[in-house]
Amino acid sequence: MMKWLSWTLLLTTVIVAMARWFHPALFTTLELHALMGLTILTALISLMYHTNQHG
């Protein structure tokens, strides 16, 4: 579940970053950074869970 969520958030971050390239006023830097932070956090939790499961 966490792995899927981190991939989904990564995809969202990429879409938001692309929209910001089209026009920076569409999303703020704060929103983009918050998404990036959330993506990294879920990826780390997913990795920790995976490590615990497999030794």
């Binding site: 991939w7 995809l11 938001v16 006023a25």
Partner: protein, 183 residues
């Protein structure tokens, strides 16, 4: 495979939600200093800004995209030596691309030009030029062009959600597509 499709769908839903959420926000927005077109702030005296040129510029700092937004300006002013006053928001990259809305005309004014006047103006924002920091350019125009004098006591700027016209929406999309951007 279905997990990948769900992932894309959820990502798109989050993207749309993040974009749509600020469109329904409303409230007062901060106005920058009132300046001449050369960026020199106008002098103020006892809380009043004395405008002595034809044009007076200020930035409005929005916290959302201009899409589906109306700007409501409430201006308290003393017309003194002007026959007409109007205000507009910049529309495109040309520095003087404004469609001014007249808010004071001496010929139809029943008060004395030395009295404090209050006017509320509503300007649709969807087709206006928004800078990368989400600010807008606001310009006051005074007539006659040579040596006008009028005082601004207070300007309040509010944004409200509004349904744009088809033409405004088309201009908004065009402005995003054709915006000059660094590669």
């Amino acid at each position: 495979m279905s997990k990948a499709i769900t992932s894309v769908a959820v990502a798109l839903v989050i993207f749309v939600a993040l974009f749509v959420w600020p469109l329904f926000r409303s409230g007062e927005r901060r106005l920058g200093a009132l300046e001449t077109i050369h960026g020199i702030p106008y002098a103020s005296d006892a809380g009043r800004i004395i405008v002595t040129e034809k044009l007076a510029h200020a930035d409005i700092f929005l916290r959302e995209p201009v899409l589906m937004k109306n700007l409501t300006l409430t201006v308290h002013y003393i017309p003194r030596r002007v026959s007409r006053l109007s205000v507009g928001v910049r529309e495109n990259s040309f520095w003087l691309s404004y469609a001014p809305t007249v808010f004071y005309d001496r010929s139809s004014d029943k008060k004395s030009p030395e009295d404090v006047h209050e006017t509320t103006i509503t300007i649709p924002l969807t087709d206006k030029l928004q800078e990368v920091d989400r600010s807008l350019d606001l310009m006051f125009f005074a007539e006659p062009g040579d040596s006008p004098t009028w005082d601004i006591i207070d300007v309040q700027a509010r944004v409200e959600p509004a349904i744009p016209t088809y033409a405004q929406l088309r201009n908004y999309i065009k402005s995003i597509i054709y915006r000059e951007r660094a590669l």
